[in-house]
Amino acid sequence: MQLSREALLNAYRAMKTIREFEERLHVEIQTGEIAGFTHLYCGQEAVAVGVCEHLGTQDRIVSTHRGHGHCLAKGCDVDGMMKEIWGSREGLCKGKGGSMHIADIDKGMLGANGIVGAGAPIAVGAALASRADGPGPDGMKVAIAFSGDGACNQGTTFEAMNLAVVTQAPCIFVFENNHYSEHTGVSYAVGTNRDIASRAEAFGMKAWRADGTDFFAVHETMREVLDHVRGGGGPAAVEFDTERFFGHFEGDPQRYRGPGEIERIRAERDCLTRFRNAVTAAGLLDHGDIDALDAQVLGTIEAAVAAARAAPRPTADDVLADVYISY
């Protein structure tokens, strides 16, 4: 916990922003106003923020279908994202992508992705671009592939790991093990008895493992990982054990979850609560500091929803635009 007060506030604000963004979407989706498939990141905030707090815009990330948290942590605009999810033509992607396809290349966010496992090879490409550019004053720019415990079984993810090792690309495979791929348990689908990190290690790179509901564990682990990768040590993998508070997608009845499971993880494994308890116990921040941020974030989200609701809708003419730069 060698973080400055400001860094702590930033980290909490970032996590809380994701949380409220998602909790609010959970409510709004029930009104039927939001179209499409939405996968909420609630419960996993410490991973996105603990990873991205180390990154600059020159570092790149590639995300998943459950991408809101990664986008927000990497600096995508809250209003722009909300408008995108609402399908406005003022959305970050002009209403063409929606929840599963938010990207902001200028922020180093190369896209959420509806295809499970598609991100990892793209991250290797981004890492190869960094490799070609060579190290800057802070070492190598890195590329990060966020993947789930389900995605880690997709052939593309395996190929990407091998290619990264072969080319010694500065790529980091962040596996968010939330114990489920859709409705299937990780203990079933990952043949190695849920152990994703060791399997990654067997591809020939260093691998780490940490509690993904503990912001400080994530942050510290990533410091080590980044030291290794920025220093030219080649690719790395990290597995974070985390929790998914909501269903796979909005509307999921979750009959596959154990009785009381969600209550238990909300009570014991909530990264925001754990953060608050840790920093207040250590006297780094007080409850007032955090309460103030909570209020601020709620205001931000409220404003974003109002803006999204009021934002202009796309028109039929927009369909034809932006397929090609020129054709």
């Binding site: 499409g36 992607c93 209403g95 396809h101």
Partner: protein, 337 residues
């Protein structure tokens, strides 16, 4: 006859065929739906509810839940089929042929030919396709145009619960590989279904769902309903539409199409795939070549534009074929010259 939903026609046909033939096995992601969870294996039974109850009844040897590994699923289906089984594999979304095409295209479709006719590969690959849910560019696509172009595959696109029943049974009992395309927007539609446990609809036989004689509309799957709606609208004005439901795009019932066009001289093909090298073009080229002298107007295609599928509601509906767009095309061919 029993009234049931399209999705239940899928499930009950698989259930019946599994009960009848011990060689039928089912595999795919979440087809059981809760493996390795505290909620127990059959917590879901397939995200489309098209495999609910199969695991309970037939057990793990015949209902195989898989990791997210579509190439391995399709490959396993291939291996099962070469080993005497009749796999019915589910690809959750048709868009995922992107990560598994080799097994469909270069393996399953080609075994019989490459091996000199000495093998059979009775695999059924089911996939949910089509737009209408604002699921955007990677979860809304049609792929029949790609798969129809691949020799060795048969491609089925049922439009009603009864057709699901008759065509899926034919698919499962067929000794060739069959792609079975289920439109997401049809899953919750209902219709009467014959009770005969051997009810089958042969492949390569289109269905004339409306007989009119002035203009021919050709489509399949979800779009059939739109064509019928147009026919009904125009009937009120005394304009008669032949509405043809292809049922299978490979094999193709050229005869039914050509017979109709020879009478009407005017044809509109309606399809949900992008326009280039699509099924609409395929059929228009067929008609132009084979019914040239009968044609009174240029064959018309109603398809989405050459763009990916957009997310927002306004964009997706502008993108998709609609009753209005089809009607406009019909009026265009009728007004020609």
């Amino acid at each position: 006859m029993t009234k049931m939903m399209y999705r239940d026609a899928v499930l009950s046909t698989i259930m019946e065929e599994m009960a009848r033939d011990p060689d039928v096995v089912v595999l795919g992601e979440d087809v059981v739906g809760g493996m390795g969870t505290a909620g127990g294996p059959e917590a879901i039974g397939g995200i489309w509810s098209t495999s609910t109850g199969l695991y309970d009844r037939f057990g793990p040897g015949r209902v195989i839940d898989t990791p997210i590994s579509e190439s391995a699923i399709m490959g396993a289906a291939a291996g099962l089929a070469l080993s005497g089984k009749r796999p019915v594999a589910e690809l959750m979304f048709a868009d995922f042929i992107g990560v598994s095409l080799d097994q469909l295209w270069n393996q399953i479709a080609k075994f019989r030919y490459m091996f000199g006719g000495k093998t059979r590969c009775p695999a059924v690959i089911r996939m949910a396709y089509g737009a209408g849910f604002n699921a955007a560019a990677q979860h809304s696509q049609s792929v029949h145009q790609i798969l129809t172009g691949m020799p060795g595959l048969k491609v089925v696109m049922p439009s009603t619960p009864a057709d699901v029943k008759g065509l899926l049974r034919t698919a499962i009992r067929d000794d060739d590989p069959v792609i079975f395309l289920e439109h997401k927007a049809l899953y919750a539609t209902s219709g009467e279904v014959p009770d005969d446990p051997d009810f089958m609809i042969p492949f390569g036989h289109a269905r004339l769902s409306r007989a009119g004689g002035d203009v021919t509309l050709v489509s399949s799957g979800l779009l059939l309903g739109m064509c019928e709606a147009v026919a009904d609208r125009l009937a009120a004005e005394g304009i008669g539409c032949d509405v043809i439901d292809l049922r299978t795009t490979s094999p193709l019932d050229e005869e039914t199409i050509l017979d109709s066009v020879e009478v009407t001289g005017r044809v509109v093909v309606v399809d949900e795939a992008p326009p280039r090298c699509g099924l609409a073009a395929d059929l228009c080229a067929l008609v132009a070549e084979m019914a040239f002298s009968s044609l009174k107007a240029p064959p018309q295609q109603v398809t989405p534009p050459h763009t990916p599928i957009p997310f927002a509601r306004e964009l997706e509906s502008a993108y998709l074929p609609s009753v209005d767009k089809i009607e406009a095309a019909v009026r265009r061919v009728l007004a020609w010259r």
